[in-house]
């Protein structure tokens, strides 16, 4: 007879001294954990609920401007700093961590309409309705210390006066050229008081300009004649133009897929285009209920933030038709500019109420340094939530957002209108000769023409 029975000595399975860690034994046998799917489902529901509980995206407001914030610029070489310009000609450099003004750049007579920093982060370029372009030295030392003891207002490096008011400015990602938009597109060098090159296509005002992050000589502009135009600095004339039904207020290139850009349009939508194929939008991002004023891509290229005239900030997936997140407060007025921070974890919005607001990019993310166990727990809960996201209860909780009443009503109204339009179109189609009416998809519907 051979016999063995389970026999455990307490010493082997418990700790020796009270300072030791408790010993942990694992057995992954599925029959020990019954109903694991139900347990996972319950965890997913709880995780979704917890996410809602911890969704506190608003970090703080940066107060100081005397007039509406009209534009902002990130410093590509310094994470904590952000520049903002206001309608009264004030330019400020903010320290995001302490949410205080580090430095002021006085000088503009009218509204500042465009701000940009050079790629090395040393020079700030501003332009405005007073027909001047000003170059400023970015004070590196005051950023580091960020004390407000000394006189922290800077003097401009150079002031270039030109013929027309400016609407926007953007610096090349690689090189020392920058482009301004106004009556035409002007290309400037840091050291020349006059533009080195000018482009004109049509007579209307150009309202925004953005350089391509991948190809330093390519830029895109939008104009008030409802066009989006692509330029190449190596050519003498603009390359391509696209005319839409409504004008685009702003453009942003996807930094990870630099052939794609997204335009923030007056008709409440954003349109993502492939620059090589302008006859059709790649994706239409709907959700805003009023004109979209500004757009900025996250450095990851997976999502972008938009600020809108409807007093909200929304975050979209680069390929998602609807927004992932909506941010609003009672005090925030029309949002004129919105930026993703350079580490993709914060969003900054500037609005009519003279404030800059700092938001978390992921509303319920835990700030600060995470312990490995905490991080693993978050990862597990995210995975579980992702696995059960299609189940009605989880989906309902994850999707739910509280909306201000005017936006809720406006969204409902817009829905009714589009639905009515669709119904009308359907009926017209049903009562016409087959094939005589062609419905265009929304991706093409808003495009009038593509001009080479």
């Amino acid at each position: 007879m051979k016999v063995k029975v389970i026999s455990r000595s307490t010493d082997e399975f418990t700790r020796e001294r009270s300072q030791d860690l408790q010993r942990v034994f694992r057995n992954f046998d599925p029959s020990l954990r019954t109903q694991e799917k139900a347990v996972e489902y319950v965890r997913a529901v709880n995780a979704a609920k917890l996410d809602k509980i911890f969704a506190r995206p608003f970090v703080g407001a940066m107060d100081g401007h005397m007039d509406a914030v009209s534009c902002m610029a990130k410093n590509p070489n310094y994470l904590k700093g952000i520049f903002s310009g206001s309608m009264d000609g004030d330019i400020r450099l903010w320290d995001i961590a302490s949410r205080r003004t580090v430095c002021q750049f006085p000088g503009h007579q009218g509204a500042v309409r465009g701000l940009t920093a050079s790629t090395d982060g040393r020079v700030l370029v501003s332009c405005g309705t007073d027909c001047t372009v000003r170059l400023w030295n970015v004070p590196v030392s005051t950023i580091m210390e960020s004390d407000d003891s000394a006189d922290n207002s800077a003097k401009p490096l150079a002031v270039y006066v030109w013929k027309n008011a400016f609407w926007a400015v953007d610096h090349q990602w690689d090189g020392n050229l920058f482009a301004t938009a106004g009556a035409q597109v002007d290309i400037w060098d840091h050291n020349r008081s006059q533009p080195v090159n000018s482009f004109e296509w049509g007579k209307d005002t150009v309202i925004s300009v953005r350089f391509n992050p991948g190809e330093p000589n390519v830029l895109a502009t939008s104009a008030s004649d409802r066009s989006i135009t692509l330029y190449d600095l190596r050519m003498t004339s603009p390359a391509r133009k696209l005319i839409m039904r409504t004008k685009s207020n702003s453009i942003s290139w996807n930094p990870m897929e630099p052939m794609n850009f997204t335009a923030a349009n007056e008709d409440c939508n954003c349109y993502s285009y492939d620059a090589r194929k302008l006859d059709e939008a790649k994706c239409v991002h709907k959700d805003h209920v009023s004109a979209v004023m500004d757009i900025d891509y996250s450095p990851t290229g997976r999502e972008f933030v938009t600020g809108s005239y409807d007093r909200t900030v929304r975050i979209f997936q680069y390929n998602g038709g609807h927004s992932r997140e909506i941010y609003h407060t009672k005090r925030m007025q029309r949002v004129f500019c919105a930026k993703f921070s350079c580490d993709a974890s914060y969003v900054i919005s500037g609005s009519d109420d003279t404030n800059l607001r700092l938001w978390k990019a992921k509303a319920s993310e835990q700030l600060g340094v995470l312990l490995p166990r905490e991080r693993k727990k978050h990862e597990y809960l995210d995975a579980v939530k992702n696995r059960y996201k299609h189940l009605p209860e989880v989906k309902r909780i994850v999707r739910h957002r509280h909306l201000p009443k005017p936006i809720y009503k406006a969204a409902a109204l817009r829905r009714t209108m589009t639905e009515a339009e669709r119904r009308k179109e359907d009926r017209r189609k049903a009562h016409s000769a087959p094939g005589s009416i062609l419905t265009k998809p929304l991706r093409k519907k808003r495009i009038i023409q593509e001009v080479e």
Binding site: M1, K2, V3, K4, V5, I6, S7, R8, S9, T10, E12, F13, T14, Q22, R23, V24, F25, R26, N27, F28, D29, P30, S31, L32, R33, T34, Q35, K37, A38, V39, E40, Y41, V42, R43, N46, R387, Y388, L391
Partner: protein, 556 residues
């Protein structure tokens, strides 16, 4: 590798072992994969296919990792009992086992004789560390099995029918003469649950924190012990019973009735999920295999049956009687009747249970309850003269998981675990026959209406089948070629007829429907007043006929 082995060189022996190991690992991986993966070949959507392929690969990797962990990292190995020579395992007595095993294990063999307050019933916590015992005449006790220390013992001075631990050893419920009571470990009465009535049998669903009871009127109660809410209260309508068991796999409660039926219940429906006739006489005991696919029932007609719960079929019928049945973690089946305990085991791996061990107690002892102690090779027996414990090698799971059930749990760990299990408390709706269905897509229903092509194909098939049948040889005069041709045609027509008839019927229905709808909108509204009104017309006609007839009569 096989080829190398044939060469027989000494260096090639190692791969054989490796192969064996890999085969063993493959077997284990299968267990951790929890069923078949998704069939990616039928998918049209490339994106989905890619995502699922990544996912499947991940599952494969984690299963392999788990299998390897099981193979190499487990601290203990399972027990066994092997007979040598002409020995039979079921002839080996407890005394001889006690001589062979180590001292600490042989301490698990004992009889506690308490003749006054029996018969006794017992329950273990899920880690097997604590035991609650209840004597019929009112003796309640909680015992720490690690050091055999009596934690608390008290007398309630009325009938106690059953006792069950709640989620940990701090609380236990006792079914007493009139009501159900919940006590804590110190013997303080915390709750008196009057709604349950005189409960006969208790079960605790630990994933759901539900206390289930069946009372003497055959009412099944489910009470949430966290919030105190009565989740379900159902009349079984099948009479008084004291056979009740929870299926650990899906938390469905099964009841055995005196009519020979077994019914399975969930707290969210008033009708049983399953009602199966298992025996011809009353059912005396019921037990579930931990994997949930096997049920053992014992009937008064001296039969023990093993059922496959996936097909609801009998797998095996064994002769014998059992007043109480229990499955161990490793799948051994213990049955107790009179003063004899029989252990059955499945050694072929094909769910074919045969004799494994037996144990007879002192004559005259009446066994009331047998229960395997989790994570130990021990069987607890409650009987009329106290309780006993015997060694059954190979019955328990050798390796515990600290996060599931830890026999060496400290009070801090217990508190932590209580919070965690409360966070993961399942709602009662998650109790269903197949718990893996949660989060799955329900398979599409088969189409009920056939399309035109399918109908035609069916008819063609029927005709072809008829045509292929050879004609019978007929007697002279009836076998003319013309008659044969006619016969053939007739056969085809006959085969066609039902299909054509159905087709005609459908068409008729359709046209009738059309007529009905078209009648109303035949004429524009402005012209409808000129339309003939059929029924009234006929009456008018009839009247005029009568009138003419009268006129004619007058004139005559």
């Amino acid at each position: 590798m096989g080829v190398k082995q044939e060469n027989g060189t000494p260096g090639k022996v190692v791969p054989a072992i490796e192969q064996e190991i890999s085969e063993e690992l493959d077997m284990k991986v299968k267990k951790y994969l929890r069923g078949e993966g998704a069939n990616l070949k039928v998918l049209q959507d490339k994106k989905l296919k890619g995502q699922l392929a990544v996912r499947e690969e991940l599952y494969g990797k984690s299963a392999t990792a788990a299998a390897k962990a099981e193979k190499w990292l487990m601290p203990s190995e399972g027990g066994y009992l092997e007979a040598e020579g002409i020995e039979k395992t079921w002839r080996i007595r407890q005394e001889s086992i006690a001589r062979e095993v180590d001292i600490s294990s042989s301490k698990n063999q004992y009889d506690i004789v308490l003749p006054d307050l029996g018969p006794y019933t017992l329950d273990f916590t899920s880690s097997g560390r604590f035991m609650a015992v209840a004597g019929r005449k009112g003796h309640l006790a909680v015992i720490d099995m690690k050091n055999m220390g009596l934690i608390k013992e008290f007398q309630v001075r009325e009938t106690v029918r059953d006792v069950v631990f709640l989620h940990n050893e701090l609380f236990f419920a006792a079914a007493q003469k009139k009501y159900l009571y919940i006590y804590n470990r110190d013997g303080t009465e915390l709750h008196c649950l009057k709604e349950h009535g005189a409960a006969h049998r208790l079960q605790f669903l630990k994933n759901h924190f539900l206390l289930a009871s069946i009372n003497k009127f055959g009412q099944l109660h489910y009470q949430d012990v966290t919030m105190g809410e009565m989740v379900g209260n159902y009349r079984t309508g099948l009479g008084r019973t004291d056979v009740m068991q929870v299926n650990p796999f899906n938390s469905v409660v099964a009841l055995g009735h005196s009519g020979g039926t077994v019914t399975m219940w969930k707290p969210t429906s008033s009708a049983p999920l399953v009602k199966m006739l298992c025996h011809h006489g009353p059912i005396s005991a019921l037990a579930f295999h931990p994997n949930g696919h096997l049920m053992a029932t014992a009937g008064m007609e001296r039969k023990i049956k093993l059922w496959d719960l996936r097909k609801f079929e009998v797998l095996q019928t064994l002769p014998g009687h059992a007043k109480t049945l229990d499955f161990s973690q490793k799948g051994l089946l213990a049955g107790g009747t009179g003063s004899f305990v029989q252990i059955l085991g499945d050694f072929s791996g094909t769910q074919d249970y045969s004799r494994y061990m037996g144990h007879s107690m002192v004559k005259g002892y009446q066994i009331r309850k047998v229960l395997f102690r989790p994570y130990e090779d021990v069987l607890g027996i409650g009987h009329s003269m106290g309780w006993s414990s015997i060694l059954i090698p190979g019955s328990g799971e050798p390796n515990f998981d600290s996060w599931v059930a830890n026999p060496f749990e400290t009070s801090k760990q217990r508190r932590e675990k209580e919070v965690r299990s409360l966070l993961d408390k399942l709602p009662p709706e998650t109790i269903m026959l197949d718990p893996t269905k949660i989060g799955n897509v329900r398979p599409a229903r088969k189409k009920e209406k056939l399309t035109k092509e399918e109908k035609e194909a069916e008819m063609e098939a029927a005709i072809a089948a008829v045509k292929s049948n050879p004609l019978k040889k007929k007697t002279k005069g009836k076998n003319k070629p013309s008659k044969r041709v006619k016969k053939k045609q007739e056969v085809v027509v006959r085969a066609k007829r039902p299909y054509l008839e159905q087709q005609m019927k459908e068409q008729e229905d359709l046209s009738r429907k059309k007529q009905k709808t078209s009648e109303d909108i035949q004429l524009p509204k402005s012209l409808q007043r000129f339309a003939r009104k059929k029924p009234s017309n006929i009456i008018v006609l009839k009247c005029s006929c009568l009138f003419i007839a009268f006129n004619i009569l007058y004139k005559l």
